[in-house]
């Protein structure tokens, strides 16, 4: 047992950081929407799924014959992230307009909004499974769609017995850079101030001249864009997607958001990484089939001792 742990600890840590970064990026969308609307945006996992397809289609159009290097690699990466961020962001805004705004205008309960979200989630999944996949990608079959390789799996360096590959470094670094960018947008810009104000007290924000509808739209756009970036990194790393891919990752990301303190941007990052690591470490002892049980158990235990997550909730407080 202990031998296993010693042998597998470092490689597991690397794997945990990579998947944790993707959880964190998706978690941002949950956390921002929750901060502003107090709504679990259940369909956010499908926004991520759409992001993976946006990158996949772009990549199929580029049709790389060999992995890229140097500037070409950076260029392709940026392009994929941009396309996915735009497509996912736009989808999130459309989702808000169709599935949430009408409810908001009628003063519906958050429970009704949750059902609407679940409905939208099913709708988007099936839409992709039945229509979009065949239309976008000339390949029948609902199961999976594979992406060509464009980042080489070269080992960059070794830490102990763990080798760290180029693609893994890209995932973690890109995720952190994007999150730092988002943090600055929320903290330093006018629109960010609007988001924080709305999260804190929507009525007061309205009185201060903030357009709530615009703020909600921007929140969905930013959260969706983050999921899009996660989608492009996922396509690079896993090289495979499907119309059902969102569900499990979405639940994990939401768990990560709650774990870190929902409504809190830095909490999402922290929650994602912690979740990725704990899952992988736990799997060393219990076997990989228990990963999800480990994740949820950790969540319950953390909430028992810190009822609002590790870093506490709310978009505005952690800004200070």
């Amino acid at each position: 047992m202990l031998d296993d742990f010693v042998n597998q600890f470092l490689p597991s840590t690397v794997g945990g950081l990579v998947i944790g970064s993707i959880y964190a990026l998706i978690a941002l969308g949950y956390t921002m929407v929750y901060g502003v609307l107090r709504l679990i945006n259940f369909a956010h996992s499908e926004i991520f799924m759409i992001g993976t397809f946006a990158s996949l289609v772009t990549l199929l159009a580029i049709a790389p014959t060999a992995p890229f290097t140097g500037f070409a690699l950076v260029g392709v990466l940026l392009l994929l992230m941009l396309v996915s961020a735009l497509v996912s962001g736009a989808s999130a805004v459309a989702l808000e307009a169709v599935a949430y705004r009408p409810l908001r205008k009628r003063g519906a309960t958050r429970l009704a909004a949750l059902i609407s979200a679940i409905g939208a989630s099913l709708f988007l999944q099936e839409l992709f499974g039945l229509v979009v996949i065949e239309w976008l990608i000339d390949k029948p079959g609902r199961n999976q769609a594979s992406a060509p390789r464009f980042v080489a799996r070269d080992t960059l360096f070794e830490i102990g017995n763990a080798s760290v590959r180029l693609d893994q470094v890209i995932v973690v670094v890109a995720a952190i850079l994007v999150m730092v960018g988002l943090d600055r947008v929320v903290n330093k810009t006018r629109i960010g101030r609007g988001i924080r104000a709305t999260a804190q007290d929507p009525e007061a924000a309205v009185l201060m001249g903030v357009s709530i509808d615009n703020i909600v739209r921007v929140t969905f756009l930013l959260g969706g864009a983050m999921a899009g970036v996660a989608g492009s990194l996922y396509i690079m790393e896993i090289e495979n997607t499907g119309y059902l891919i969102g569900f499990v990752l979405g639940i994990k990301a939401f768990t990560a958001a709650v774990l870190g303190g929902i409504g809190n941007l830095r909490g999402a990052l922290m929650g994602g990484i912690v979740l990725g690591l704990i899952e992988n470490w736990g799997a060393i002892f219990l076997g990989s089939e228990w990963k999800d049980v480990i994740a949820f158990t950790v969540l319950v235990v953390v909430l028992m001792f810190r009822p609002t997550g590790i870093l506490g909730e709310s978009l505005q407080k952690a800004r200070a």
Partner: protein, 381 residues
């Protein structure tokens, strides 16, 4: 020809319908086909359906006295749906026999119902070993089960690779766990050290599993599961410099394994299957099957298409022998003995096929290649 057509019209006019006797001398019996025809795993079920349909179309084209009508029941592989569909099939459609259910879960759910209603069934593809142990008198299948497949593939790997240490992986689905355990047991019985790991079927990042395999450094890897997970797993193993021989069972025997893993990573992967899939270069009677199938289905024969054909043929033989009621057909099945497209077809008293051959395939140049029955096949490279 004209006379026959007229009598058919007469029969139709008389409104004979399902199972009843028509006005002319032609009667029709209904045989059901149940399986996942539109769901996630339909790629495994449509080929046997095409095979069965081809057999029945060929038979009906000979203008027999008793025609066969094939009724589709799309269970999407779900036990709950199978339950309500079979009730309709028996009570209102009045089928006399069933081809299927395609999967083991749905077979477990409705096997008892079929037995209580005395409707014979022949599954072309359900490989769970437990199915034969329920004492069902009306249940049959034309494929070897996982308890045959697991040990055969393990023995094959022992001969080919003489491993000291094996790593057996699976996802957490019923089929996957079953075959992985059968393989594990055979390896252990033969003195091979075995380590195992399992992951959720919906997971996509297998880093912890790969880490375990890498730290164990085995001589051979067996994966129990379907191609979607198999492809991703194989890719992630190879990306992490695990170059060990990778073997899997019938669930992974699909071109999508190669697509999912990438042609380079999938090269030389070994796959076992109780199914016999004829490829374009076959000769003899299988060649006829290949050509006819391609004509009628519009595609090359795929997994379990010969088995679907054989299951339908067994019923056709019964009906040709004048057995048109469920019980007569079932009694006839216990004596049936013919050279099927996949293998010689003869049932044991528990419904299992007498001939439990396992065939071995290998990925060569990105294509699945049949090496032959597991007892005689030789790995290439």
């Amino acid at each position: 020809m004209l006379a026959a057509a007229t009598s058919l019209v007469l029969a139709a006019c008389a409104g004979g319908g399902g199972g009843g006797t028509g006005g002319g001398d032609v009667t029709t019996v209904k045989i059901g086909f149940m399986g996942d025809l539109t769901g996630e795993n339909s790629a495994i079920v449509i080929p046997p359906y095409n095979g069965a349909k081809m057999a029945i179309d060929e038979y009906n084209a000979t203008n027999p006295k008793v025609k066969i009508q094939l009724e589709k029941y799309d269970s999407q592989g779900k036990p709950e749906q199978a339950t309500s569909l079979i009730a309709k099939a028996i009570t209102s459609d009045k089928i006399v026999a069933l081809i299927g259910p395609a999967f083991s879960g749905e077979s477990k759910a409705i096997g008892g119902t079929l037995d209580e209603s005395k409707i014979p069934s022949i599954s072309p593809s359900a490989t769970n070993p437990g199915l034969a142990k329920n004492g069902w008198k009306y249940w049959h299948r034309v494929v070897a089960n996982d308890d045959d497949q697991g040990p055969r593939v393990a023995e094959f790997l022992l001969t080919a690779k003489a491993p000291k240490k094996a790593f057996v992986l699976s996802d957490d689905q019923e089929y996957s766990v079953g075959i992985a355990e059968a393989v594990t047991k055979t390896f252990k019985d033969k003195g091979v050290e075995v380590e195992t790991d399992k992951f959720a079927k919906d997971a996509s990042d297998y880093s912890s599993t790969v880490t375990k395999v890498k730290s164990a450094n085995p001589d051979v890897i067996f994966f129990g599961g379907y191609y979607a997970q198999g492809g991703r797993l194989l890719k992630q193993l190879r990306d992490n410099d695990v170059k060990t021989t990778f073997a899997s069972g019938d669930g992974s025997l699909d071109a999508q394994l190669v697509t999912g893993a990438g042609a380079a990573a999938a090269e030389n992967a070994v796959l076992a299957c109780p199914c016999n899939i004829p490829s374009a270069d076959v000769t003899g009677t299988l060649k006829t099957f290949f050509d006819n199938y391609k004509k009628s289905a519009g595609a090359d024969p795929a997994i379990y298409s010969t088995e679907g054909y054989d299951a339908a043929t067994a019923y056709i033989k019964a009906i040709q022998a004048g057995k048109t009621t469920s019980e007569d057909i079932n009694n006839f099945l216990s004596t049936v003995n013919f050279e099927g497209a996949s293998k010689p077809i003869k049932f044991k008293s528990n419904g299992e096929p007498e001939n439990a051959s396992i065939f071995v395939y290998q990925v060569k140049g990105g294509v699945l290649k049949l090496l032959g029955p597991s007892a005689t096949a030789k790995l290439e490279g």
